[in-house]
Amino acid sequence: MALVLQNIDLREDGIAHLDNVSLEFKRGRLYTILGRTLAGKTTLLRTIAGLQHPQRGSMELHGQDYLDIPVWKRSTAMVYQQFINYPHLSALANVMFPLKRAGMSRDKARRRARAVLAGVGLSGFENRRPGALSGGQQQRVALARALVKRADILLLDEPLVNLDYKLREQLREDFQNIFKGQDDAIVIYTTTEPAEAIQLGHEIIVMDEGRVIQQGNSLDVFNAPTTIRCAEVINDPPMNIFSGTIDKGHINLQGDVRLPLPSHLDQLSEGPYRFGLRAADLSINGEIESEVELSEISGSQTILHLRGGIGSFILYEEGVYQYAIGSTVNVSLNPDRIYGFSVQGDLVAAPAPMSKQWR
């Protein structure tokens, strides 16, 4: 029992929003679609919901054609990144709306709507209209309206993106509990944030420019991104990419930086490669002289944008430090965490998975 998309193409004004997308979503699982803006995430969800129609391809739910079913007849619920509710209805009436459309009696609809509202932490707010609720509460109403339908497919299109940090954290935790109760549904969640995708777990689908570029268990994708593009998308800040060669047991990077060849790269033949290194795998106190272009403080970490002989890169430093723009720091690279990509951008060697190190 699954939703199967095959060779879906959707173009508008000559731009491919979905390019030969083939995916299979199984019931009872949570899928996180990760991609940058304009990657095609929202278009994919809107296509599944029936709000947009592909020019090519097929879509089947439980073996039956799903493309020809009009939007209002599909067993789909959707939460958008904007807090979309009915502004003229109370929170309770909002949540009752899909049940009434489905022909449920008023009393039964009210009982179920109240229960779902309580489930998303909105007891006591039933009679307020969306305009009288905070952003987080409005999004909870939208979520309740989606959950109450008990639809076969639950679509969540960056539902946290317009919330402040605290609310985002809180709702993200709530989501994990809420999704546990959706055993009969296919839950598809889109996000631009790698941390969110990994935190939600289950299966991750990485999209870029309308195409699926990698799919798999979230940690597997994080540990072994198959392309440079995927490595950039799955890491925040994006993985640093350096050009260089492997030569005589060493990695030679631009600017005469020479590193010992780590064991996980020693099976690679000599020649030109591109090397990837996460921002957290560089550190201050090394020999590579670099100039600070920008210094940001995020929570308890410092993010440095640097430029040196090896090119422009980003460094993540635990702790809060102040760096003057234009000042010089000496950086070292951790060779054991270097990813090897071909010149064309395909992964050829990856370090040991992070998850094993955490254990």
Partner: protein, 288 residues
Amino acid sequence: MLKLNHKHFFLLPGLIVLVAIIIFPLLFTLRVSFSSWDVVKPGLDWIGGKNYVRLFEDMRFWEALSRLSLMAVGSVLIQYIIGFGLALLVWRDIILKRFVRVLFLVPMMTTPVIMSVIWRTILHESLGPANDIVQVLGFEPLNWLSTGGMAVLSVILVEVWQWTPFMFLLLLAGLLSLPDEPYMAAAIDGAGAFRTFFSVTFPLMAPISVGALLIRLIEASKLMETVYVLTSGGPGTATETSSYYIYIRGLRDYQIGYAASLSLTYLVIMIISLTIIAKVLTYKMARD
């Protein structure tokens, strides 16, 4: 105590205009309504509330008022329904959308008196094209303007023809300002076109609808030119409205004192009834 300084003098022009065109005429009319000013004896003699006593016994005035209510409410409701329908029709993408939108506005841009003259010609019972069409369709010619009921319907017809575009314009502006999001939600929530209209479009349009209905009701309560040109209040008094009756008493019979009392009474009734209508509509909207 208010201390006058130069900034208060900037208020003076507006104040003078306000006093000259609203406050003075209103107070003067009030004073005139307590006089017996007529063609025989013009002047501001004091007769107390005699005009008001006469007014309460004047059934022709009350009949005109109830007739006005019927014609105003009836024509405005029809304008609302047709205007809403037309606005919905051109709201979404249709061929020649801009052209059709402008076309619908033509009646509103025509001078009401001239329009009424044209309609009088159209509805002329022996020479007008309206009866030609009726006969072509195989029916007996209709007495458009010479029987009471038909004359009222004819006045309503002309009013609807003239003012539906105004309603259309307001409602179309309202529709174009509606957010897309509730429609996306409604589609996902399983609402078809019919249900979406009644559960989303209509409630979201409630504030604009109330405004449009009130504006038109205020305008329609002054119904005068159409009646004057089309039927002159006839046959008999079948289409006589309050404004037209006050005009007859004041400017045809020259009973200025009595006409003043009619005007003020009419004004008070209109303010009270329109306030009640506004409150009811707003209350219903808030509750729904």
